[in-house]
């Protein structure tokens, strides 16, 4: 049973407001080690330097989108098994199916709250203590 405070989470979103919301909710859930990346490219740089246990990424980003980031992560030996949750809009059902085909572990539909986020994270990494 993972302890939230011991899990390192990488938030990837090119909108500062969305990163802020995600960080706020993760903090509510007890997470302390939260890394922010403002683009897909920034995320790859952060993954080189940090030990990350879970990625929560937006889909729509200007440089490298969430799906491309997922594909790169799944190809690299060091990150290929890294838990990955995709944040997406309500109407993006086809996108979700595509992300599943490329190995996304779960998805979360915006707007979300702490309860929904907790369920999605626990479905991927196990119940939080």
């Amino acid at each position: 049973m993972p302890k939230a405070s011991a899990v390192s989470v990488l938030i990837v979103d090119d909108q500062q407001s969305m990163r802020g919301i995600c960080k706020y909710i993760l903090t509510q859930l007890g997470f302390k080690d939260i890394i922010e990346a403002k683009s897909g490219r920034d995320a790859l740089g952060k993954l080189e330097k940090s030990n990350v246990d879970l990625i929560i990424s937006d889909w729509n980003m200007e440089d490298i989108d969430g799906l491309t980031l997922l594909k790169v992560i799944r190809k690299h030996p060091r990150t290929q098994a890294m838990p990955f949750i995709m944040a997406t809009g309500r109407s993006d059902k086809e996108q979700v199916k595509e992300a599943i085909s490329f190995g996304v572990n779960n998805y979360i539909i915006k707007p979300f709250d702490a309860s929904t986020m907790k369920k999605r994270i626990e479905a991927v990494i196990g119940a939080l203590s």
Partner: protein, 196 residues
């Protein structure tokens, strides 16, 4: 005077789609006009100036507070998602470049003098959001003590605002608050996709 008569002669409404509270419409259709009526609500009109794709949202943060502790509260989160949804839709149907976006903001009236200035809080929210994301609105018609009808042509980016009389405004305000209180903020998962 009818609304049609109040329009400038060159403003051809064509096909009109109404944008209700909670909606977000994006299109590149030349003959489309997006229409909405705002009391304390906010509508942002976002357009990709290169791709000629534009859209309009319509939201109300009924309990939004400017206090720092509530910056990411449920109401502000809803507004941020509404803005992100519109921006992302325009980007995905347009050039994909944020630098090509042009943003106009409308609404946030103080319709009922007896109530808190919900409109002002909504205006503050959208200003804070745009500043945080590095956007500047190219034009605005916000605040005041009246409701507005806003028409927006997503292809050309032209916008038309008509200020409504007090009686119309009072009805609009009542409906907005009732809708905001009923609004379900958290969506259900996509029903036919199950993971684990």
């Amino acid at each position: 005077m009818t609304l049609v008569n109040a329009l400038p002669p060159e403003f051809d409404r064509g096909v009109v789609t109404t944008v209700h509270q909670g909606d977000c419409h994006v299109s590149n259709a030349v003959d489309l006009t997006l229409s909405t009526v705002l009391g304390s609500c906010i509508s942002a009109c976002v357009r990709d100036t290169v791709a000629n794709v534009g859209g309009m949202n319509h939201f109300l943060l009924a309990e939004q507070s400017g206090a720092a502790k509530d910056r990411y509260g449920a109401s502000a989160r809803y507004g941020a998602f509404a803005m992100e949804q519109l921006i992302n839709k325009v980007l995905s149907q347009g050039s994909g470049r944020k630098s090509n976006l042009e943003i106009k903001v409308f609404g946030g009236g103080k319709i009922n003098a007896a109530l808190d200035d919900v409109g002002r809080k909504n205006i503050d929210f959208v200003h804070e959001f745009l500043a945080a994301e590095g956007y500047v609105s190219v034009s605005e018609d916000v605040g005041g003590t009246y409701a507005r009808r806003v028409l927006f042509k997503p292809h050309s980016g032209r916008a038309f605002v008509k200020r409504l009389d007090n009686a119309s405004g009072a009805n609009v305000a009542r409906e907005e608050i009732a809708l905001a209180k009923r609004h379900v903020i958290i969506p259900a998962p996509i029903t036919d996709i199950e993971l684990f």
